[in-house]
């Protein structure tokens, strides 16, 4: 491909290898002014390597990056920022103890005539002006630690604007914010487009991609697969470009559940967080837990699992009333929990796959306190096969795996403790479509074995595609209990916003 003069950002034949493995191979990209350009691919497709190179965090082995008419060569982060490429990171890179204005101008502090004397009034005023222009109502003197994730994201965008960014890279910007906040974000993205800013957008959420992007570039295994206008693509075509094969039925067929109630929750209340939550889950049933971010779904799960206390109400397991005080007790009683916070609560990164898988069931593999490694290895190998965990072996460290495989390790760990009921909290968040599909099949396998499943998800197609019944929460209260046959996306949304 040759270079065209009217482009904002042009990438030609970009390649990068890590110890012999090609992470990026001859990647191309053209970004116009005022364009939202989605970069799609499964985990491990090379998106983050690509973005790191654009930001100057990594240097490419070969290829060229042109920003308008200038070539970026050996540019480090400071250089790329100065030239006008900014990135909104998935994990917010903000300083919690500093104010909004201090964060926005971090590294480019405003000073008065003494070049070392901070001019807070000036930076506050400028920050306020930018935030107002964005239509965001945040005071520039608020400490960052008092903001929500969505607001922090706005501060990051304000920082990019203050930096006169021509290109803004957004890495999964909607992964941790509510639908309402997504709407605000999309409005700001549209304003940025009008001002001629080019946006590189990374997300795993399909509907969102088609809603916001003009152009889509697909990478697979570091290879450049192609670039197409979003209007020329539909979801199945895009998925097959990303995965390299066709996935016809995303959701497996739902098998009817049995009658025995496994978990029964009655009027569970935690003051100020959720109240009067009542539901039952039967053997082989998937109960979907829907609701907006902050509706209290995770909090209910945490209380059932013993991570948080509850003030009143009752939990019954197989007909017995139980009082769960800690996760250790919950696991012993037969409750499993796969957290939404995979990195924080899910696994021990420095430990091997095998050690992580047996972590919740280690006494089963021990005699008088001594671990029997052979018994562990057998189980780990079997689990890795059953769940199709892709790794060099059971001795590989979990920190080296992709998000989807890490999630499978966490699920394997929970299943290894032989639960009667499993709570899956956003089980497919941040993992690619291929792995998602496998996790859907796995949920089906669990129910076939008679395990009761409670699945929390923000993705409504997932809730509708997998659950027998759907419990909707809104602001800590349950607003509906629907059967899948009667439920629709609109209905769920209506109850979720009630």
């Amino acid at each position: 491909m040759t270079r065209q003069p009217d482009q904002l950002l042009q990438v030609r034949n970009l390649s990068k290898s890590f110890v012999g493995v090609k992470a990026l191979d001859q990647v191309q990209l053209d970004l116009k002014k005022g364009e939202v350009h989605a970069v799609m691919g499964e985990n491990g497709a090379g998106k983050s390597t690509f973005m790191k190179i654009l930001m100057g965090l990594l240097s490419p082995d070969s290829g060229e990056i042109w920003l308008e008419s200038e070539i970026l060569k050996n540019a480090d982060v400071n250089e790329t920022l100065k030239r006008g490429i900014s990135m909104i990171h998935q994990e917010m890179l903000v300083v919690p103890e500093l104010t909004v204005a201090q964060n926005i101008f971090l590294g480019r502090e405003k000073t008065n005539w003494l070049p070392f004397w901070l001019d807070d009034a000036h930076s506050n005023a400028q920050a306020e002006a930018i935030l107002q222009q964005m239509g965001v109502d945040i005071a520039p003197t608020t400490l960052l630690k008092h903001l929500s994730v969505a607001e922090m994201q706005m501060v990051e965008i304000a920082k990019a604007i203050s930096n006169n960014a021509k290109v803004i890279i957004m890495d999964e910007p909607t992964s941790a914010i509510s639908d309402k906040e997504v709407a605000t974000l999309f409005k700001i993205i549209k304003d940025l487009k009008q001002q001629g800013v080019g946006i590189l957008y990374i997300s795993h959420k399909m509907d969102e991609i088609f809603q916001i992007s003009d152009t889509i570039t697909v990478l697979r295994d570091g290879q450049y697969i192609g670039t197409k206008p979003a209007s020329d693509l539909d979801q199945p075509t895009l998925i097959s470009m990303m995965v390299g094969r066709e996935i016809t039925n995303l959701f497996p067929e739902i098998v009817p559940s049995k009658d025995d109630v496994v978990l029964s929750v009655k009027q569970l209340t935690r003051q100020g967080v959720f109240s009067d939550i009542t539901f039952e889950v039967r053997k082989g049933e998937v109960l979907g837990l829907a609701g907006l971010m902050g509706a209290g779904r995770t909090e209910v799960a945490r209380a059932i699992f013993g991570l948080d206390r509850y003030d009143s109400g009752e939990i019954q397991l197989n007909g017995q009333t139980v009082r769960v005080q800690s996760p250790a007790e919950a696991i012993a009683l037969g409750i499993g929990y796969v957290s939404e916070d995979r990195k924080g609560l899910g696994f021990i990164p420095a430990m091997t796959i095998q050690d992580n898988i047996t972590l919740s069931s280690l006494p089963q593999h021990a005699k008088a306190g001594w671990v029997m490694t052979d018994s562990e290895a057998t189980v780990a190998t079997r689990m890795m096969q059953n769940l199709r965990i892709k790794a060099t072996g059971a001795a590989q460290k979990v920190s080296h795996l992709s998000g989807g495989n890490q999630q499978k390790v966490v699920i394997a760990k929970v299943l290894q403790a032989a639960p009667d009921v499993v709570i899956l909290d956003e089980p497919t968040r941040g993992i690619d479509i291929g792995a998602k599909f496998e996790i859907y099949k796995l949920i089906n396998d669990l129910t076939a074995q008679g395990i009761a499943v409670v699945m929390i998800s923000s993705e409504l197609p997932e809730i509708l595609g997998l659950s027998h019944r759907i419990l909707v929460l809104s602001k800590g209260k349950q607003t509906a209990l629907l059967s899948t046959t009667e439920a629709t996306q609109d209905m769920i949304m209506k109850f979720a916003m009630q």
């Binding site: 609560l345 972590l359 280690l362």
Partner: protein
């Protein structure tokens, strides 16, 4: 030696092992006295006390904690043991037992306060460092306790089949600590707690129990070290052990234990302790004054951590 090399997957440990071998060879070339059995017997005997303390603190550091009260625990247990070790009073097992138990008790107290109050281990054990020193002075009325039985002094100065008793203790506890860390459920949990405390909790591990166990274990090993020291200098010294905690922590860190928790091995810590011993012995043989020795030692600690962080990046 080869098995240690082959089995050591940790590059940091590998690197420090290489450095250890190079330094030993260098010293052997410069001074032929260095590579003699008698000199090595002296080195390892001297290292034994620091190594025991370092094993204890390695457990603690792997969980992401720290113990600054080691030196004071050495003093308390030394004084307690000495006061029970006069000739013709109690059988030798009494001062040993009570001495170790006093270390266990202080360690358990550290663990209890840390787990119940959520005050950082740094602060709690800093407090315990001062409390322990005070206790040692109170118990001994500020005076050294001497006139100890021969059977007690044997622990520090005796030999079995020509091998000094402290070396035997070192070997036994090195094996025990290694097995505990690598082969038991508790050992696995220690790594898990340091690797990601929240995930460990969510995996059903009773994190507080694990923390109690490591601080108690650390106290017990400090007790043993206190007895060893007291028997070697044949006196219970209330001022003994000051600063020992820093040498022990240094040995663990030089040996590749990360202060952020989750990684570390007893083999690494042993090499770290031996390295410290070899360097001070080597510098002695080269007639370098102890002032310079401190500078060298500090540089080595920093160098080891830099080496480790480079390896981490790879």
């Amino acid at each position: 030696m080869n098995t240690i090399l082959a089995r050591s997957k940790n590059l940091g440990q590998y690197g420090i092992f290489g450095a250890f071998v190079v330094i030993c060879l260098g010293l052997a070339v410069i001074n032929p006295q260095f590579m003699t059995v008698s000199n090595w017997t002296i080195i390892i005997t001297q290292v034994s006390i620091n190594a025991l303390l370092a094993f204890g603190v390695t457990f603690v550091i792997i969980t992401g904690g720290i113990d600054l009260s080691l030196g004071s625990m050495v003093a308390v247990t030394g004084v307690v043991a000495a006061s029970l070790a006069h000739p013709d009073t109690y059988p030798v097992i009494v001062p040993i037992g009570v001495g170790v138990l006093s270390g266990v008790a202080m360690g358990a107290l550290n663990g209890l306060v840390i787990t119940k109050s959520k005050v950082p281990p740094f602060i709690v054990t800093l407090g315990m460092m001062t409390i322990g020193r005070g206790l040692a002075l109170i118990l001994s009325k500020g005076r050294p306790i001497s006139n100890l039985s021969d059977s007690f002094n044997f622990i520090g100065g005796g030999s079995v089949l020509g091998i000094p008793f402290p070396i035997l203790i070192l070997v036994v506890f090195f094996i025990l600590c290694t097995l505990l860390l690598k082969k038991t459920v508790l050992g696995r949990y220690i790594y898990a707690v340091g690797g990601n405390e929240q995930a460990a909790t969510a995996s059903g591990i009773r994190v507080n129990k694990v923390k109690m166990a490591v601080y108690t274990l650390c106290g017990g090993l400090a007790g043993l070290a206190g007895i060893l020291l007291t028997a070697r200098i044949t006196t219970g010294q209330p001022n003994a052990g000051a600063g020992f905690e820093l040498d022990a922590i240094a040995a663990a860190i030089i040996g590749g234990t990360s202060t952020s928790g989750g990684t570390g091995t007893m083999t690494g810590t042993l090499i770290g302790a031996l390295l410290i011993g070899v360097i001070s012995n080597g510098l002695d043989l080269l007639n370098v004054t102890s002032y310079y020795q401190q500078v060298v030692m500090g540089a080595i600690i920093i160098g080891a951590v830099v080496l480790d962080s480079w390896n981490q990046k790879k």
